[in-house]
Symmetry: D2
Subunit: 353 residues, 4 copies
């Protein structure tokens, strides 16, 4: 029923993968901020398909147009609508799938929900919907930068290959977006192997915010953890999320995982920068489980709309591992959650303290 994320920094995406356009409406960006369209485009370019041999080869320019809310290079405080026209849509690729529910896809659930279905690609369930999130996230980053918050992220695991380092600059220099150069190469190999087998692989994306002051978030229903959980699990193809040490904490004792703050600084950060739902001043650390891409060329059983099943191989140009392209989306969602929490704290306490 709702395509909106956030209470004060409100982000609503629109557009189907094979319709005229995708886009986003951002309501709540404070006025007077310098909004550089180049910064928005930069984030969209990071998300764009066709960036390397291990991502989809679709070519989409994804040029953003800012329709409102910015005048003379400054935000007006009014809603900012941003539009990206769709192109390079090979709807024919999907004709064969008209009467089939693709394995792992949302086709069946979508049809059950709406009773109608645009069989050309995933419609709203397509990864293409994330274009709007990334554009909105670029605005959130602009807002957050004014209070010293910075966002980074990368692919920290692909199948069994785990990144040992966290150098986010390195992450931007390899096609896997892995913050560990050595692991990046092994990951690329694993992805290429999956691609060659007409299959796909999963992985883990980590995003981090530095400079978040203590006091953002909420102690109960709107815990920062909860908002991060919602944000990350609203990204297509994600099925798990953890804050800080997350699932690794389940095998530990309290004496090993209790973070200690002395003189306003946390000595440890098992909690990923969030204590009791409220930012505590340490880095906010979030990891997301990304499932293997569901569109694969390998023949699979698939249910038919009319009943019974058949065997299909999904043609088209799809990502063998979505992680590299999830990175900018997860960063955007982290930025959106934090921008919303920031405004919430301003409403509660007035000026920054």
């Amino acid at each position: 029923m709702s395509s909106t994320f956030g209470r004060l920094f409100r982000v609503t995406t629109f557009g189907e993968s094979h319709g005229p356009a995708v886009g986003v409406l951002v309501d709540g960006l404070p006025p007077g901020l310098a909004v550089d369209p180049g910064a928005i485009q930069h984030e969209l370019d990071r998300r764009r398909p066709g960036q390397s041999a291990i991502t989809t080869q679709r070519k989409e320019a994804d040029q953003v147009e800012v329709l409102s809310g910015v005048y003379d290079g400054k935000s007006l405080g009014s809603p900012i609508a941003m539009l990206v026209r769709n192109s390079d849509m090979r709807s024919k690729d999907y004709d064969a799938l008209k009467e089939v529910f693709r394995p792992g896809h949302a086709d069946y659930a979508t049809f059950a929900k709406y009773g109608v279905r645009d069989h050309r690609g995933g419609g709203r369930s397509s990864g293409r919907e994330t274009v709007g999130r990334v554009a909105a996230g670029a605005l959130a980053r602009i807002a957050l930068a004014t209070v010293g918050v910075r966002i980074a992220g990368g692919t920290v695991r692909v199948a069994d290959v785990v990144a040992a380092a966290r150098d986010w600059d390195v992450a931007e220099q390899n096609p896997v977006r892995c913050p560990d150069a050595a692991a990046a190469e092994r990951m690329a190999g694993v992805i290429a192997a999956a691609r060659d087998a007409k299959d796909s692989v999963g992985g883990v994306v980590e995003v981090v915010a530095t400079g978040v002051p203590a006091g953002w978030g909420d102690p109960t229903m709107h815990k920062l953890d909860a908002q991060l959980g919602a944000a990350m699990l609203s990204i297509p193809a994600t099925k798990g999320v953890e804050i800080g040490d997350g699932f690794a904490m389940v095998t530990k004792h309290g004496s090993e995982t209790n973070d200690v703050v002395v003189d306003g600084r946390y000595v440890t950060n098992f909690s990923g920068g969030v204590s009791g739902g409220i930012s505590n001043g340490a880095d906010v650390v979030v990891r997301v489980a990304v499932r293997p891409a569901t569109s694969i060329g390998k023949p699979q059983q698939a249910g038919k709309a009319e009943g019974g099943s058949t065997t299909i191989a999904i043609e088209g140009r799809h990502d063998p591992c979505i992680c590299p392209r999830v990175v900018p989306v997860a960063e955007a969602m982290l930025a959106i959650v934090l921008a919303d929490a920031w405004l919430g704290q301003r409403a509660l306490r007035g000026r920054e303290r």
Copy 2:
């Protein structure tokens, strides 16, 4: 800024752990449903402290009073306020902690957020806030039962002990609430050992909904996964959540994890009953990472409000493992998310009467 969960089935908790009462306001329960106060009390009794040797020994009767929204045993369609008076509050236990930020707790972040702090227990961050959630969840269960949805859950891991079976009736018969009787005994041993060492241990809670029809949820920002992520990570002491196979999928291939639906039934359920954010008719399966309880008797370093640090041992009667008591809370939140999604689908597609 907000203590409310849900858009159509709206749940707002209130109350501090050491104030006069805790409670909840539920807005959106459809009219005409039979509301048995005994069913609400039953769920509260499952959450109540003092149930066994491995939970806190605090004695709280937690008798619920229904203040509104029910007449003659039936819901009126108006807000239902429910109240539980606090009792057995040993505020003196907390006097020593007045000038200290307890390790792992929200004390520091709370103070940073609000500038004021009720040092007697966790206030809103206390597990006591979940009383209201459980009462609200009982109403959500009543609503869901009318459409054939049932909720169950249990502790499926404590430290390194993992449940092999999923017999939810068994879970109600042991103090760990483990659905595997053999594992339950080993888990109880691990918890008792932690307790004796004045320490605590973490674990994993799993909750499951059966009978959910395909079509509930949303394809983008309000994905069912996202709402479940928010719901679970809004529970105190949780730091991770996964839907279906979750993090286990990151090491798999698409050909191993793509669920297939044939003739309206899913052959596999790696996705935990949710495809593209929308329920697909299979069981909804959610797992939550529960950190080791932060209140431990073992001496720990702790920052002082005035600066510097000291060593503290947290006295009082605390849970050495929170999982058994998180189970009814996680079930409640699952019920709340599903009730909300159900009403959303009715708004979208419901038939007029």
Copy 3:
């Protein structure tokens, strides 16, 4: 579907007129404010029935209990639940009305909406629901007072008697709550005449906020006018609202009604302190049309649930003119709208400017 008013200062009432209690949950009051329960009780006492010969003779003590969100006399920033037990409920008065839809009442519409109905009084539609609003408004006043905003109001018209003066202190000294002492006496006479004729009369209530800085509100959907319109028309028995000169402006020219601001002060205030939906620094002035009370002793035709009609006379102790008791409610709603707008402006711009 929703019993909540406000986005950041969120007020949710609960309770039926003949259930155990009525009350309110306020979420969003900033922390650290001095909350005097006496100030809340004072507002409730102004709303309480039985204050004079021209209001209902029901006796309700309406003692408020603050259940949460306040510690040591200060707001904690968490939800504040407030409770007033019902008493002096003569449900028997309503037995005769079980199978009848009272004229002018919500009985028929309520039954159509919910399919169930508590025939004992108006349930949620009863004026008793406003107890919660007044308690919430008292908190809003506390918040607004910290930034210099003050609220007043009174009955400015009863039938054809119109107040010529606006002395709000005078309004508190007569039972009609009229800010014009001479008019108050004539109004009292008109009300007494209606009461003696077992009938009722309508009137107009005016509420005013002084000290509102320029810049609160919103230019489009959430115009301050719009929020005031929603707030006032959510009060039982109101059927019209106007801001500033309102309907009187329709016979004027632009050259007669364009307010001019010079050196940060408005020379005129036809707009009632709101320009384009945003406060402009002048007094915020709102008037509400209050219909004649629907419960009258005079025999009237009334539809029967089983079909056809009958003649009824509504016994019980009802207000012949609701205006005096609407005054504190309208003031409360004005305070709630402004508190919400204030927090909104803080979110947008940070500290007060």
Copy 4:
């Protein structure tokens, strides 16, 4: 802080009067409805400037482009973004106004709120923002038509000229949109006189919904009256609203204004189709006070940004009476409120499919 109206049928407008475009995002339209772009364009054409000698002579084609949410002529259940490019913007007309706060306009309040200002026209406060409302209202009408609800409206008063008849077909045949042909001529004369005097006049717009079933709306904060109040007072240049007999009821007795329902039909309709906040099956009738247009050619005093005042005459092509163009906007807002209430009732009581 928010540009959104509605909870389930959610309408968010965007765009400044002198920016690249205006538009709207509608979230919540049920799937499977036939969406005819011609029906949307038809409503926009009714709102369009330059329709007659008594409206502004600006020429704006206002061609709508549907960007999402519709496939193959049917609604998909996903957000529908609609865009209208701006044209014929004579920004130069506004250069003289850069340092002046126009009388009656939102210039000063806007600047106080945002600290920045697009002096070229009203920005978000411009009547141009209503383009999006009208497009959204067209979708609401489509939805409502499926359950038999129809919307009409007209100008029922200009200055002292009051319409005696309510023939909504007639309203579409004269430039004033008055449902009384004789009054229409006199109104046109009054408007022309104001225009010739470089001045403007106010009036009253009435909108009516027929076919609304009993049971839509809410008994407390979200009364249908309240939503209508918010909707109408969110339209630029409106300063009052009344439901049914509204302000005329203040001089009446209860025995004269209590509506009676017999056999499911209301015998009278003083309440304008809404009892206790809930639709009662009678026609929903709403009237809106429209102030004289603030942009007038007559010289007026105006405050200067730097302090002090000057005399200005507002050049450009402005409406001498806004009522004819407010009609389609008020109809749109009525449709939006009802569509939202309809979905709310489905959520509350809808039957599963």
